[in-house]
């Protein structure tokens, strides 16, 4: 099971691009990288998932270098409503290890 490390908190301002990096040095060959967003009193919400290189959707981009030992979630032009905790998850959801663990996440605060 790959352990992940991400910053505890980050501050930004409306309209800025925010990049949150997650380290996962022990990532395994079959592991995918998934990011979730969580608002207070709500369950986590899927943002994006990738295996290598770059993935982009209508919400964010995910950059994964060739060695896959880290990944960066990029949020373009954040707004106040993007203030939330962001979790990086690394796991093989199709293999024999079902014990997926989320870390403490990164609290992103977007200021006006």
């Amino acid at each position: 099971l790959a352990k992940t490390t991400q910053p505890i908190s980050m501050d930004s301002y409306e309209g800025q691009e925010v990049n949150i990096t997650c380290s996962h040095n022990n990532i395994a060959t079959n592991d995918y990288i998934t990011w979730y967003q969580q608002f207070p009193s709500q369950g986590p919400r899927f943002i994006i998932q990738g295996y290598k290189t770059k993935v982009t959707n209508e919400v964010a981009s995910l950059f994964i270098p060739a060695d896959r030992k880290s990944s960066t979630l990029s949020l373009p032009r954040v707004s106040l409503s993007d203030t939330a905790v962001y979790y990086c998850l690394v796991g093989d959801m199709g293999g024999s290890n079902y014990k997926l663990t989320f870390g403490k996440g990164t609290l992103l605060t977007v200021n006006p």
Partner: protein, 114 residues
């Protein structure tokens, strides 16, 4: 379509009592997950169901915790003889199939053990 639902949304109980938490996954989702989130902590995986089977229950913190799933749909997490350290938000998620698939979370059940 409806998302994952959980009930009750809040549960306050006394130490030593048993509680049952319910999860209704998205219709057609074969995989179901239970997680626990304590105040200020990250998500902790508890158990995973594929259909009605739980391939690995090692995430359950003690033998006071048990879970079952019937009809490949509804799941119940039972905590016997609750302790104060069991207080947390219990989250359920489901995904369409086994594999690297998106997990959709419910709103959670906030359990408080007095």
């Amino acid at each position: 379509g409806a998302g994952v639902s959980q009930s009750p949304s809040n549960k306050v109980t006394e130490k030593g009592k048993d509680v049952e938490l319910r999860c209704d996954p998205i219709s057609g989702h074969t995989a179901l997950y239970w997680y626990r989130q304590s105040l200020g902590q990250g998500l902790e995986f508890l158990i995973y169901f594929q259909g009605n089977s739980a391939p690995d229950k090692s995430g359950l913190p003690s033998d006071r915790f048990s879970a079952e799933r019937t009809g490949g749909s509804v799941s119940t997490l039972t905590i016997q003889r609750t302790q104060q350290e069991d207080s947390a938000v219990y989250l359920c998620a489901s995904s369409l199939r086994q594999g690297p698939d998106t997990q959709y979370f419910g709103p959670g059940t906030r359990l408080t053990v007095l």
